[in-house]
Point group: C2
Chain length 163, copies 2
């Protein structure tokens, strides 16, 4: 596989995430293996890290893809920590609504009503108060994610070596 | 590191999970890197996969430990799928209550009231109706997890090669 996720062709046209990988809204970063973009803003800084190809099961990835899927999630989380300064970070992989493999990253803030407990996630048709990331924070996330290096993180360095 | 997780010494005596790694209740499996055990039964087959040492951040693991932490979670999930036959499997890593690194694996069943949506998890002091795994299922989980091989899963084979 060459290039970045955004350069791939749609794998399954009926899959919302396959389309999003090619034309992502709110794109933060595209690596060889994932597209990272802002998710539903029921929690501030909720990011989805979507695998480049339509796969529904972790066991269908190659060793390298699986390592990269995890490493790239950690990389995105590290940059989120640096820019948004959350009190803790939570991770989720569900696949209940869209089976295409993707991580949810949730920066959690002490000021949130559900802080200290599992995320309370509104259902698909349930209204919520959007918790938006400021424009300058989005710009900083994009800038830092595209730097492709993270001096404090050995796993980002492994990812950089792998390229 | 040699031996299995259960043979380690307590890293931080004040950490509930450090104590559990050494004397786990409801143990299903101990590898070189993790202890897998039944979690709170608010969902049937909820399993916690706890890292062997007290670490609170994925970036403090070595490359090998991080790969193993993910591989071993996948391995446990594959065995859960085989024995419990859930309709889908969800994964979570939170660290809100206990920061010691651990995965939550949730087999999800069509018959559950929250099926198809993110897990509704009772708070620590909230009562819930226990959804227990049958004794013969626990025995089958232990037996299959201890076989250390999973013929359908390339990642289990990688783990086996690593040993």
């Amino acid at each position: 596989m060459t290039g970045t996720a955004g350069e791939q062709a749609v794998t399954q046209p009926e899959c919302e995430f396959c389309r999003d990988v090619v034309e992502p809204e709110d794109l933060l970063w595209a690596s060889e293996y994932v597209v990272a973009r802002l998710g539903r803003p029921h929690h501030k800084g909720h990011v989805e890290v979507v695998f480049v190809r339509h796969e529904e099961d972790l066991t269908t990835l190659t060793d390298r893809e699986r390592d990269a899927f995890f490493d790239d999630m950690i990389y995105v989380a590290e940059v989120l920590k640096r820019i948004l300064q959350p009190d803790v970070v939570n991770y989720q992989m569900l696949g209940n609504w869209i089976p295409h493999l993707h991580w949810h990253i949730y920066p959690r803030f002490r000021s949130d009503p559900d802080f200290g407990n599992p995320m309370v996630i509104p259902l698909r048709d349930e209204p919520f108060e959007p918790q938006l990331v400021a424009e300058e924070e989005v710009a900083a996330l994009r800038r830092d994610l595209r730097q492709f290096e993270h001096d404090r993180c050995p796993h980002c360095q492994r990812r950089a070596r792998r390229r």
